[in-house]
């Protein structure tokens, strides 16, 4: 069969270890540089947006009649604002107005401010997240990302900064860009470093298990490769509710390791997620050895079971307490917001 022959052929094709390590090193370096770049850019922006909000409160009439971010940015700091070209193109759907406020090109980088305003209710807040539902279509080969930079409660407006970088390092030429958003999540809540009020000593026995093909997981332990069927706890009806759409659904030992199972619903709409860790008597955190997850479908509802596995001995279990940090959004708003606008070089 050709398929088998082609598979054997491909199994002889792999990246060198040196190439793989070099790529990982470069990626880490790039990640560090990129993070520090965003941090240094964001910090003055947060200050700037805060000042804008103060000015906005002082001049509500002005703020209501002009594009708030650009106008107020200019009032606060003309030296920064002068680099941005006003765009002020907007689209409205499902009671949400999306506006491209301003754009700025410098060499191979373009930065674009977008605002989202709820015209009818309070779906937009300071936790608004575009949830990777946005597309930035541009006519050149580039990488792009969109970051939340601020929220104005008085106008119910969230501001985002899109950064586009031309891949070849070439200067970005004037052209049109189309920005599209299909959904966003908001009203996120979190419970960080909360104690799970269960006595782990009650779960010392080996548990019944099932085998499933994992569809996700993570570990710092390279041996925990996700390439085969794995043992999972059998889910119980909720034994400890954590947050909306997050429940602790079982705890027990499998092959001498402690498994803590989290049931996750509405994963693709409200982004519920979190993690468990153990705390010993001296207040030291013990991270999971690895976590694996599988997905199932019950009565048309997709449920993910994420299992956190700890390398602790049964006889030591009374010395540990279970903790975790958890996050979930309260609202998912869908719509069709698409804006095409020109990207112009500053003269």
């Amino acid at each position: 069969m050709f398929r088998e022959q082609y598979t054997k052929f491909n199994q002889q094709v792999s990246p060198d270890k040196n190439l793989l390590q070099d790529t990982i090193d470069k990626a880490k370096k790039c990640e560090k540089q990129s993070n520090s770049k965003i941090y240094s850019f964001r910090k003055p922006l947060i200050i700037l947006v805060s000042l804008c909000l103060c000015a906005c409160l002082a001049m509500p009439v002005l703020a209501a009649t002009v594009a708030p971010i650009y106008q107020l940015m200019y009032m606060v700091s003309p030296t920064i604002a002068q680099f941005f070209m006003p765009v002020q193109k907007s689209v409205e759907d499902n009671g949400i107005k999306v506006e491209v406020v301003s754009a700025y090109i410098h060499d191979n980088v373009a930065k674009i401010y977008i605002t989202m305003q709820d015209l009818t209710s309070d779906r937009i807040d300071e936790t608004t997240d575009l949830f990777d539902s946005y597309d930035i279509n541009r006519p050149f080969d580039s990488s792009a990302h969109c970051a939340f930079v601020g929220y104005d409660k008085s106008t119910k407006t969230a501001t985002f900064l899109i950064t586009i970088e031309e891949q070849g390092g070439n200067t970005i030429t004037e052209d049109k860009i189309t920005f599209t958003v299909r959904e966003f999540i908001s009203h996120k809540t979190s419970s960080e470093n909360v104690k799970i009020d269960l006595d782990l000593a009650d779960y010392k026995t080996e548990s019944e298990y099932q085998t499933q093909s994992p569809n996700g997981g993570g570990s710092s332990n390279e041996n925990a490769a996700l390439t085969e069927e794995r043992k999972f706890l059998v889910p119980e009806p909720t034994i400890y509710p954590i947050m909306d759409n997050l429940n602790l659904s079982n705890i027990g030992f499998i092959d001498g390791k402690l498994h803590v199972q989290m049931q996750v619903t509405e994963k693709l709409t409200l982004d519920p997620h979190g993690y468990f860790y153990l705390m010993d008597e001296n207040g030291n955190k013990v991270a999971r050895d690895y976590n694996i997850s599988y997905q199932t479908n019950r009565n048309g509802i997709s449920i993910t079971y994420d299992e956190f596995v700890f390398d602790v001995k049964k006889e030591d279990l009374q010395n540990y307490r279970l903790y975790g940090s958890f996050y979930v959004a309260g609202l998912n708003t869908k719509g069709n917001w698409q804006i095409t606008f020109p990207l112009e070089q500053m003269n």
Partner: protein
């Protein structure tokens, strides 16, 4: 072939390690040389780091990596510099004569056919999935696959067509 995936909030190192073979093999299928596949491999993961976005699910991340691998290979293939400086040679030492012969025949195919063959036969993607990933019409993918099979007829004797 790896059927399972990672957790969405895994670290970059883990993601690169996990998808390294997938990206490299697709890059090799598309470019045909180890040297070019090396360059495309690095470029894809640098773009991944720069993208910084969360993916809706693991399929979304995988599809993104496949799409970017194809894009990077296209850019590389089309670059004037490459056309002037690179010869179509491979440094990979295949273990069997069958593999050497298959490699030779694959290199005679247009690159577009090679990527469709790879996604269909190695990544086990359906015509619809390939169509969505490559942003080409389903009928185009079917035609390209049919033509590629015809050109690889010596290797396709026992193959059932879709």
């Amino acid at each position: 072939m790896e059927q399972h995936s990672l957790h969405l909030y895994d670290c970059t190192e883990k993601v690169i390690s996990f998808y390294s073979d997938m990206v490299y093999r697709l890059a090799f299928a598309r470019t045909g040389t180890k040297h070019d596949a090396d360059d495309v491999f690095q470029e894809v993961f640098l773009r991944y780091v720069k993208k910084k976005s969360l993916f809706n699910n693991e399929e979304h991340r995988k599809a993104w990596l496949i799409r970017v691998t194809i894009n990077c290979s296209n850019n590389f293939w089309n670059s004037l510099w490459r056309k002037k400086t690179q010869e179509l040679t491979t440094d990979i030492m295949f273990e069997t004569e069958d593999s050497v012969n298959l490699y030779t025949e694959l290199q005679k195919l247009p690159a577009k056919y090679r990527e469709v063959i790879h996604l269909f036969y190695y990544e086990d993607m359906s015509l619809e999935e390939i169509s969505l990933t490559l942003n080409r019409k389903n009928s185009t993918i079917r035609t390209q696959l049919t033509r590629a099979r015809a050109l690889l007829k010596e290797f396709m004797k026992e193959e059932n067509y879709v």
